[in-house]
C-alpha cells in the first residue's frame, strides 16, 4: 500500500485528505509551515504532523503538493530529489521558468509528476469531451467557458489577493478552463485578453480571454473574482460545424429548498440549490483514484494530464496576463515571460 503524505494542510490539502481516506493508501501525514494547520488535519484525518518537509519525504512513497501556488516548486524539487512520485495542485507554478525546471527535474529524476487539473474529472466536462470526440458535433469550431464568482471569501489567506503570488484570476481560476479547452481542441496558437488584473481594483479581478487554436478553432474564457457575491458560476458551450453542447451550473438545480423567511437565518427566502453526486463520482476522488491507479499499473505513464499539459496551461495563462498588460495578441511559440 502506497504511503501518501500531504504538503500543505490548507483547504485543498484537507479536501484531498478526505478522499485519500477512501482509497487503498496509507495517509501517512501532513507537513505545513503552520504546525497548527498540520495538527488540525491530523486530528481530522489521522496520520502524523511532520516537523519538516524532509521528515515527511522520508516517510512516504507519494507526495501530494497542496501548498499555495508560489510554494509548489520547493516541495516538488525536494520530492524529486528524494525519488518520490508527485501529485501537484494546479497551477504547476506561478512562473514559466519554475514550471519548466520542475518538469525537467522530475523527468531526469525518474519520478512521476501529475498536475491536478481536476476539471478533467468533473462528469459534465468528461461527458462533453466524449461527445466532442464521438464526432457528434462535427469539426470543432468554438468553445466558450465561464468560471467565476465574487472574490473567494472562504479563503482567509491573503495570497489569493496578491497577484505576485497567485497570478490573479487568470492563473488561479481560468487556468482550469484553459486546460479544458486545450484538452478539447489541442494546442493554442495565440491569445488575446482584457481584464482587471492591472486596473487597481484588487482583490477583485476579471478577465475575458480569446484563444486561437492551432486547428483554427476559437475559444473564449471568462474568469471572475468580480461578480456580486452569490452562487459561483460555471458554464461552457462547445460548437462544431454540426452540433453544439451546452452546460450551465445555474440551470435549475436538481434539488432546491426554499424556506419561508423566518425559517432560514442564512439566506431568507432564497432557494438553496443542490447538485449531488454519488460519492464515487466525486471529481476529486476520481482524480486521486486515477493518479493512484496509474502509479500502481507500472512504469508506463498513463496520466490523463501530462507534465507538459501542466506546463502549457501555465504558459497560456501567463500569455493571457501578458496580453492584458500589453494590449497585444501573444503568440505562444514566441512567448517568453517578462521579468516582471
Amino acid at each position: 500500500m502506497k504511503r501518501v503524505g500531504i504538503a500543505g494542510a490548507g483547504l485543498i490539502g484537507n479536501w484531498h485528505a478526505a478522499r485519500w481516506k477512501h482509497l487503498p493508501v496509507e495517509l501517512t501525514g501532513f507537513y505545513d509551515v503552520s504546525s497548527e494547520a498540520a495538527a488540525r488535519a491530523v486530528e481530522k484525518f489521522g496520520g502524523r504532523a511532520f516537523d519538516s518537509l524532509d521528515d515527511l519525504l522520508a516517510a512516504v512513497d507519494v507526495v501530494d503538493v497542496c501548498t499555495p501556488t508560489p510554494h509548489h516548486k520547493t516541495p516538488v524539487l525536494a520530492a524529486a530529489a528524494a525519488g518520490k512520485d508527485i501529485l501537484c495542485e494546479k497551477p504547476l507554478a506561478r512562473h514559466l521558468h519554475d514550471a519548466e525546471e520542475m518538469v525537467a527535474v522530475c523527468q531526469s529524476a525518474g519520478v512521476r509528476l501529475f498536475v491536478a487539473h481536476v476539471v478533467r474529472f468533473f462528469r459534465q466536462f468528461v461527458q462533453a469531451k466524449a461527445i466532442l470526440d464521438s464526432g457528434a458535433l462535427g469539426r470543432p469550431g468554438v468553445i466558450r467557458t465561464v468560471r467565476g464568482g465574487g472574490f473567494p471569501d472562504w479563503s482567509n489567506h491573503s495570497w489569493f489577493a496578491d497577484f505576485e503570488q497567485s497570478g490573479g484570476v487568470v492563473m488561479d481560476v481560468s487556468i482550469h478552463d484553459i486546460d479544458f479547452a486545450r484538452w478539447c481542441f489541442g494546442d493554442v496558437e495565440r491569445v488575446f485578453a482584457r481584464g482587471l488584473t492591472f486596473a487597481g481594483v484588487q482583490p477583485h479581478d476579471h478577465a475575458l480571454i480569446t484563444l486561437r487554436f492551432k486547428n483554427r478553432a476559437i475559444g473564449h474564457i471568462e474568469g471572475s473574482w468580480a461578480y456580486p457575491p452569490g452562487r459561483f458560476r460555471t458554464r461552457f458551450e462547445i460548437a462544431g460545424d454540426q452540433g453544439l453542447i451546452e452546460f450551465d451550473n445555474l440551470a435549475p438545480a436538481p434539488l432546491t429548498v426554499t424556506l419561508k423567511p423566518d425559517q432560514s437565518p442564512q439566506a431568507p427566502g432564497i432557494p438553496q440549490p443542490h447538485s449531488p453526486l454519488a460519492p464515487q463520482d466525486d471529481p476529486y476522488f476520481l482524480e486521486l483514484e486515477h493518479f493512484l491507479n496509474c502509479l500502481e499499473s507500472g512504469p508506463v505513464d498513463k496520466f490523463l494530464i501530462s507534465p507538459q499539459d501542466g506546463l502549457e496551461a501555465v504558459k497560456i495563462s501567463l500569455a493571457a496576463i501578458e496580453s492584458v498588460r500589453t494590449g497585444r495578441p501573444i503568440y505562444l511559440d514566441e512567448f517568453e515571460e517578462s521579468a516582471t
Partner: protein, 336 residues
C-alpha cells in the same frame, strides 16, 4: 469473492443498462443470459461478452448467486417461481407483477425457499432524491402538506402497450417509481386514490392508457398527485422525468432527479438531446443488489415494497373505472 449473476430475459430495455453496470463491478461475473428470443439473446450475449442459454432453467443450473428478471411484466411470476428454488437472490424489474395475487405468490415462494427478493426501483439511488430524503428526515420543511409529482415518459411501444403482457399502459408503467419513493420517504402508505386515466389520448389507436393523473392521500395526512403519462413525444430531448415538489409548513423542496444534463444538438443525428452527467442510478441499484449478496443482508427494497406500489397502480385503474376515489388497501379477493 466472485458474485455470479445471470439475467433472465432482455424484454425490458433496462436489462441492457443493468448488464453494463454488472460489467463495471470487478467482483461480479455475468455468467450468462437467457431469453425467449434466441436472436436477441445471442446478439446480447456477444455484446456483453457472456453466454447465451436457450432456457431460463439451463442458466439457473449454473449455481448462480443471483438473477435479474427483466421479462415482460406478466412473466415475472413464472420466472420467479422457477428461480426461487434454484438461486438465493432475485432482483426483479418493476412493476413486481400485474396482479396482487401474482405479487403475493412471488413473495411467498421466495420466502419458502429463503430467497431474497429485491424490486428494481433505481430512483431511490438518485443522489438528488437521497439528499431530499435527508432533508425530510431532518424535518427542515416541518409538517408536510402535499407532494406534487410527475414521472413522464415517451410511449415505449412493443409489449409495453400489450395489456396481456404488460397488465396496463402508462399507469402500470409509471405509477410505481414515485409511489415507492413516497412510501420510503415517510415510511407510510397510500390510503386513497382517485385517478383520471386516458386511453389513446396522445397516441391515436394505441388501444391502452397513455395518460394517468393520480390524486392520492397518504397515511401521514399529506395529499398529492402523480402524472404518470407517456406525454413526451419521440423528439423530446430525453426519455422523461421524475419530479417531486414537497410543500411543507416551513417551505418547499423541489427535485428534478434527472436534470444534471448537457444539452446536445447535433445535425448529424438531427436531434436535440439531454445527455445525463449525473450519477447513474442503475449502477447504484446494481451495486446495492451485489452488496446484499456479498454481505448476506436483507434487501433494501423488498417484494412487499413492490406489491404496495403495484396496489396503487391497480387502485388507479379501479378508480377510473368507477369514477370515484378508491380506499386502500384493496380487497384482495375482489379485483386484481
Amino acid at each position: 469473492m466472485t458474485v455470479k449473476i445471470g439475467i433472465l430475459s432482455f424484454a425490458h430495455m433496462h436489462a441492457y443498462s443493468y448488464a453494463a453496470c454488472l460489467k463495471q463491478i470487478p467482483s461480479v461475473k455475468l455468467v450468462g443470459l437467457a431469453d425467449d428470443d434466441p436472436e436477441r439473446g445471442q446478439e446480447t450475449a456477444r455484446r456483453f461478452g457472456t453466454r447465451f442459454f436457450a432456457s431460463a432453467g439451463a442458466l439457473l443450473g449454473e449455481k448462480l448467486d443471483g438473477v435479474i428478471i427483466c421479462a415482460e411484466n406478466v412473466k415475472h411470476r413464472p420466472l420467479t417461481e422457477l428461480a426461487a428454488p434454484r438461486t438465493p437472490h432475485i432482483l426483479c424489474e418493476k412493476p413486481i407483477a400485474t396482479t396482487m395475487a401474482d405479487a403475493q405468490v412471488m413473495i411467498d415462494v421466495c420466502a419458502a425457499h429463503g430467497t431474497r427478493l429485491q424490486i428494481a426501483f433505481p430512483v431511490r439511488f438518485s443522489p438528488p432524491v437521497q439528499r431530499l430524503k435527508t432533508i425530510l428526515d431532518e424535518g427542515t420543511l416541518g409538517r408536510i402538506y402535499s407532494v406534487k409529482t410527475t414521472n413522464h415518459g415517451r410511449m415505449p411501444g412493443g409489449w409495453f402497450v400489450d395489456k396481456a403482457l404488460a397488465g396496463g399502459g402508462a399507469v402500470m408503467d409509471h405509477t410505481v417509481h414515485v409511489i415507492d419513493l413516497l412510501r420510503w420517504f415517510w415510511n407510510t402508505e397510500v390510503t386513497e386514490v382517485y385517478a383520471e386515466v386516458g386511453y389513446s389520448l396522445l397516441h391515436p389507436g394505441l388501444g391502452i392508457d397513455d395518460v394517468g393523473m393520480l390524486s392520492f392521500r397518504l397515511a401521514t395526512g399529506a395529499y398529492g398527485t402523480l402524472d404518470a403519462s407517456w406525454s413526451r413525444p419521440d423528439c423530446h430531448p430525453t426519455w422523461g422525468d421524475v419530479k417531486l415538489e414537497v410543500l411543507g409548513e416551513r417551505g418547499i423542496a423541489r427535485v428534478d432527479a434527472f436534470s444534471q444534463n448537457l444539452a446536445v444538438y447535433s445535425d448529424r443525428t438531427g436531434k436535440a438531446q439531454w445527455v445525463h452527467w449525473g450519477s447513474n442510478t442503475d449502477l447504484g441499484l446494481i451495486r446495492d443488489f451485489v452488496d446484499m449478496i456479498a454481505t448476506g443482508r436483507e434487501p433494501f427494497i423488498t417484494g412487499y415494497d413492490g406489491l404496495k406500489a403495484l396496489e396503487v397502480a391497480l387502485a388507479a385503474y379501479l378508480s377510473a373505472e368507477r369514477g370515484e376515489p378508491v380506499a386502500l388497501p384493496l380487497e384482495r379477493e375482489g379485483g386484481a
